[in-house]
Symmetry: C2
Subunit: 373 residues, 2 copies
Amino acid sequence: MPWAKKEFVTLFEPPNPLRLESGRHLGPITVAYETFGRYDPGHPNAVLVSHALTGDSHVSGRYGPDDKKPGWWDTVVGPGRTIDTDRYFVICANVLGGCQGTTGPSSIDPETGRPYGLRFPLITVRDIVRVQKELLDRLGIARLLAVIGGSLGGMQVLEWAVSYPEVPAGVIPIAACGRFHPQGIAFNEVQRQAIMNDPHWAGGDYYGGPLPAAGLGTARMLGMITYRSDESMHRQFSRRIRGSSEGVYQDFTPRFEVETYLHHQGEALVQRFDANSYLYLSRAMDLHDVSRGYNSYWEALDRIRAKLLVIGIRSDLLFPTYQQKEIVDICEELGKDVLYYEMNSPWGHDAFLVDYHMIDPVIRGFLAGLTAG
Amino acid sequence: MPWAKKEFVTLFEPPNPLRLESGRHLGPITVAYETFGRYDPGHPNAVLVSHALTGDSHVSGRYGPDDKKPGWWDTVVGPGRTIDTDRYFVICANVLGGCQGTTGPSSIDPETGRPYGLRFPLITVRDIVRVQKELLDRLGIARLLAVIGGSLGGMQVLEWAVSYPEVPAGVIPIAACGRFHPQGIAFNEVQRQAIMNDPHWAGGDYYGGPLPAAGLGTARMLGMITYRSDESMHRQFSRRIRGSSEGVYQDFTPRFEVETYLHHQGEALVQRFDANSYLYLSRAMDLHDVSRGYNSYWEALDRIRAKLLVIGIRSDLLFPTYQQKEIVDICEELGKDVLYYEMNSPWGHDAFLVDYHMIDPVIRGFLAGLTAG
């Protein structure tokens, strides 16, 4: 398998900026993306993978012999894997508003020569998908075999199915919903407050200065709780304490293993992720509602022409399964070709990353069916 | 009904400080408490009510004709109510470590003449209960008809049953557990980080200066999410937006109703609660484990002599019902006199405050049985 390579393309150049859902215009927009496998124009085999909040275009493989860590879904995407790059041409692009190569709030605003910061316009999942569509057009890909992704990635999958019903033959939204729910908005707002309360955040203009590390770290700690489950934390940590069990009675130092784990996760994210991107993408989740501009949720879902494989996770705290089941129920009533699969995993929202073997047969089968169809 | 009145007593005066679970000593300790109804030494009718994290001794009634807001559980405790103060003598004391009259981190340290701040020792639920026991001894109350409380209050109830098995005839822990679980510790740690990251927190020495309002407010916002449920937020807020629906696409101002609700809750708590007390009491929850010092959880629960009415809430995110059921299962195996009642409420952890009518018959019946027994 060749080394992975991040590529860049610039879209929406003057005089044709992107009109965002907010009504504001943005351009030019650089998109970082990676492709895996070989495109077969005769037998549409292109699979678009959408990434989650802190993901990037590097879904599979390694960048070179010294690259220690493979892509974020390398267990699922690669030669012979569930999404087999020997058969499928896989595309994954960093989302609009991100910080891994695609234009976002940490990018240079051409009007000022400085990072956008909060001058970057709010974006939505629909805007993110619109940019992906432009990328595919530029790559000369008119039809997709499938779009697949989990979490914020799954939101994009559903938006693809509704906004561009003629493009994908199948869609696989995992641990996602068609419109974000109030508890999720609530969790996101607390995370944004943690960032914005950090004095180093400085109204979003922290570039070149100290980073809002404490704020972003705390946001990530809360995010991680919502990506796991009580059950998985019992298994992983129980009430175990690091070091002397008496120390925990002496001061507020985090000593429960679940605490040190969360702190580690917070610190790790600060090393690789932009706090403003975190704000923009979490707000894009809040604003996500495929029915916007239609008369009803039903009307929006009725636009779907793709076959659907909707995947839920029984222990998911952030996207409880009633949300996926609602989509399935409506699509069944509308006569869509829809399958529901529930992962019986204790790992919560992150199960699609952790218990990837559970979804292997059902995704393989679904993709094979699309290829045959 | 007479006006409620907060009373104070000072315990653990020199040379007899309280030896805490941490091994440190604390004294003197002032306790703020309120009593309702009339004590009948001949027919033990005393009911101790334990309050939750941000509660206080003011469980019922009003302080005077101009007092607009009754006590926090006035719907349940009062003349003719579920816990009928015409029949029962009700005692409620502000917890050790609190900030509503009982000694806590905002109290003056007699050694320095300044507020303790973080020089206050860590406390546990067992320490809180030990102080309540001393209060009862001072009031000349050797036996209790019952101890009742929800959340942190319910933790105290279980600790009462295990530490002082000879005192209560019955115990009613609501939405509580015998040992706090890792997800709960995780939520608490994020809340503490929000407070400690606030520069106004100043290592806990903020008294006399600006308060860590943003930090405490954010902590409360997260707390409120865990006290409610996704289901209740759908009912209360759905995805409704305050003001123009277009504004939400323009900037990060909280505009979803669920956001403005949480911000309001955060700001309200800052007006009435001490940030350091929040830290100490949330840590007391983390440290809560009735089995500490015993060979097992079973051995600890086997000490219980009181009849138990264990109440769970089906939509409780913070104390999921498997925790109450575990207590019930073990107590049944141990041959205890135990009842389980599950509130079929969508309101989450706060259901014991919101849907109080649901628990009225079962608590009335349980108390009547204790009185007869």
